[in-house]
């Protein structure tokens, strides 16, 4: 009797389980592509740009994937990347910024580096010994833009007649050390690169 009851119960249970349904269309979305939002990028030789990438799904939705991609450059002698930040490694040139995910998805976009032609400097009173003086500067670039701030890639130095105490993107603070007849201020673009370039200003 016990045996029959057990078998009957289990047979009914098995029957119930076998009546389950099968999902035939996946309720989960999947990735179809990734893309760079910027299609044509220009950056100043002394500048940088934050780029963005988008993940596209098969249900039509998208998501910001900027932080999840492997960012790179097809010519590191022209541009380089740090995450989604792209910056120049040469004074002028063209290269492509690339994104990749797991070697499965990728995209790229051309980047043009706008060449720095010259630097504008404000005046300096070299007879004002011992007092910090602020020298403003800005770049003149090949696209005819002037007064462009210089965010990166510039290293400032001065000869032994003065001391630089503070530098930002638009100005530096310089103190004349002694009674001198001239002071040479040098801005070096890409100081540690093979294509380093110097811009000098001599104050008399």
């Amino acid at each position: 009797m016990k045996f029959t009851k057990t078998l009957t119960s289990l047979a009914l249970l098995t029957l119930l389980i076998s009546c389950g349904e099968n999902t035939t269309t996946s309720p989960l979305k999947d990735i179809t592509a990734i893309s760079l939002d910027e299609t044509n990028v220009s950056i100043y030789a002394t500048g940088e740009a934050s780029l963005h990438s988008t993940v596209h799904y098969d249900d039509g939705s998208t998501a910001d994937g900027s932080a999840d991609m492997a960012w790179g450059s097809d010519d590191s002698s022209i541009i380089a990347t740090r995450s989604a930040l792209v910056y120049a490694t040469a004074n002028g040139g063209d290269a492509n910024v690339t994104i990749d995910y797991a070697s499965k998805y990728s995209d790229s976009a051309p980047v043009h580096v706008i060449k720095l032609l010259s630097i504008n400097f404000s005046d300096l009173n070299i007879s004002d010994v011992g007092n910090p003086q602020i020298i403003s500067f800005s770049g003149n670039f090949e696209n005819n833009e002037t007064n462009v701030t210089m965010q990166r890639n510039i290293t400032w130095s001065v000869d032994e007649n003065a001391t630089i105490s503070e530098v930002n993107t638009t100005a530096l603070t310089l103190t004349v050390d002694d009674n001198v007849t001239s002071i040479k201020l040098t801005a070096t673009l890409f100081k540690n690169a093979e294509n380093a370039q110097s811009f000098e200003k001599v104050y008399n």
């Binding site: 016990k2 045996f3 057990t6 078998l7 289990l10 249970l13 098995t14 119930l16 389980i17 076998s18 009546c19 389950g20 349904e21 099968n22 999902t23 035939t24 269309t25 996946s26 309720p27 989960l28 979305k29 999947d30 990735i31 179809t32 990734i34 993940v55 799904y57 098969d58 998501a63 910001d64 994937g65 999840d68 995910y101 797991a102 499965k104």
Partner: protein
Amino acid sequence: MIYNLKTLLLFLITLSSLFAEAKIYMGTHYGLFSESFNDIEASSSESMATLKIGYGDIKAYAVEFSVEYARNKSKIFSSSPTASSDGNKFGFNVALMKAFDYTYLYPFVRVGFGTGYLDVERNLEKNLTYGSFQGSVGSFIPLSDSFDIEVAYELRHTSYEAVNYIVTKTSYSSVSNIGYFGINYRF
């Protein structure tokens, strides 16, 4: 000293009673499962086959190691338009069981855990691994000294490897009701 000897004697008697009838046995199951997902509206039901080896007493305790296979007919994880369903599902389980002596029947309870993988066709995944916890109740029905039939119901919780959406990774879990019968041979 006498107390210690009594304790030792009692321990040995208990041990011998636990393993007195212990044998290595092998078995195979055929079952049906019905799987429902917790976070998404999806379900799967199909048959599954299990091959196992165990050591223990049909009337008392045993430990079992099993491999199982199922061919999913549901399409829950796969996104490829060419895939009609998710693919093969292989698992490996370890379980401990306690059976009871009812003369003609040996009902048992069993708890265990397992791991395995499910073949899928997604753009970033070809399979998803999973981990599971199982609890089952059933009975051995002895046919002879060597052969017995096993029928049981199992409740299983499964956690699948997170699905990669690049921006996020999402894990899914399910609860399965499994009914099976099988045959065991005890050496």
